[in-house]
Symmetry: none
Subunit: 242 residues, 2 copies
């Protein structure tokens, strides 16, 4: 069973990679397969369409983050398809990358004019294509974390340098421990159940036992002292000011 299935917004406090959706549009079956195979291997969720009409139908529901679009297609060509896709409100911010045979020299200007973000010439080299797609998503503006510095009493949590300071002593925490402490400290005095913590720090698509939280709590306490995190029996943990 594919556990990745329906979890799009698996972004969480740790900044896990969101899974991106890709729609591939080409009239040649082998190319569809090749691209689908490579994309899925890299962890993208993929749908395919054999012509422009189908592409638009699918785009409306699927709302891909990226459309790979063959320029030369029967019935409706790529540029026209792109224009129509851009008319779908939710598709405004999606990326569109054209696939074009080298010989064609299809007007780049026309392509970019309808809002293409890049174009790639056939024959397609999977590795190169994949790295360019990676680069596309890499450019995405990323969110700014709410507070990069939390200071409570003699404890300082610095998300920029990923370090904490207790009683003027700097300590390096492993990622999960850091995120756990950071998350609790963002809402001082508020109790979170283990499930809450798993959801927010581990993410929705991870299958981890609730007891795992205990172990991390224990390790954080070991490093910063017992005074900051309080156990609320039967409920969960909270960051307590004292």
């Amino acid at each position: 069973m594919d556990l990745r299935g329906n979890f799009e917004q698996n972004a969480n406090a740790m900044g896990n990679k969101p899974m991106h959706k890709v729609l591939v549009v080409d009239d040649e079956e082998p190319i569809l397969e090749l691209l689908k195979y490579n994309l899925e291997k890299d962890g993208y969720e993929v749908k395919t369409a054999a012509d422009g009409m189908r592409a638009i139908e699918i785009a409306r529901k699927f709302i891909p983050d990226l459309v790979l679009l063959d320029i030369m297609m029967p019935k409706m060509d790529g540029v026209e398809t792109c224009r129509l896709i851009r008319e779908i409100p939710e598709m405004q911010k999606a990326f569109v990358v054209f696939l074009t045979a080298r010989s064609e020299e299809y007007s780049e200007v026309a392509a970019f004019d309808v809002g293409a973000d890049d174009y790639i010439t056939k024959p397609i080299k999977p590795r190169a294509l994949m790295s360019r797609i990676t680069a596309l998503f890499r450019r995405e503006t990323k969110k700014v974390s709410p507070a990069s510095l939390i200071s409570i009493g003699d404890l300082t949590i610095d998300r920029v340098s990923y370090t904490i300071k207790v009683r003027n002593k700097e300590i390096n925490l492993p990622k999960k421990e850091f995120e756990l402490l950071y998350f609790l400290a963002q809402n001082p005095n508020k109790v979170f159940s283990r499930e809450d913590l798993l959801q927010n720090i581990w993410g929705t698509d991870v299958y981890v036992l609730a007891r795992t939280v205990d172990v991390h709590i224990r390790k954080v306490r070991e490093k910063i002292g017992e005074d900051y995190i309080t156990t609320v029996k039967g409920v969960g943990y909270k960051f307590s000011l004292s």
Copy 2:
């Protein structure tokens, strides 16, 4: 809590912001048109120039907030044009963004030395360009020209000669290694992901695997010692003072 939200930069379409003036300089007519069209669609006031001389004439009267400047031009190249533009008193605080063909590899250092704020490789992808311009204007403070000399502890980084000094010993670093160290040292204690580093050092249009960063980190450490660059597992690297 899904922290990911839809924070996109749909800034331009509405809102009564001050209208920004843009001067586009390129010797190719189609490119001028493409850029002019897209910029005006986004609400900028645009003027164009086909060569450096004309550019300077226009800049003197028009006083644009942003100059898009092709690096490769007949008669006077972009770098020279930029320097002359910077001599116009009213143009001191304008943004300058270079346009460059991917193949050229025009000296970035030369470009930044004459006061470029960014550079973008052709072929130009209007949507990407527009969002970068939006981002440029959104920045409150104009990027300060980076210091050419950084000194931290017993480490000195000299951007002019591309050399560093550790414990009074001068070392020559290859370009990528130097820029990596330089970039990290500019923001001491700040953790950068491999993606961050790729974007800022390799550029947005280069397709390189993230693990490549590791190898360069390794080489830098080999040369300057293990004490300066710290790994933050699961996150990235940082320059750490200790």
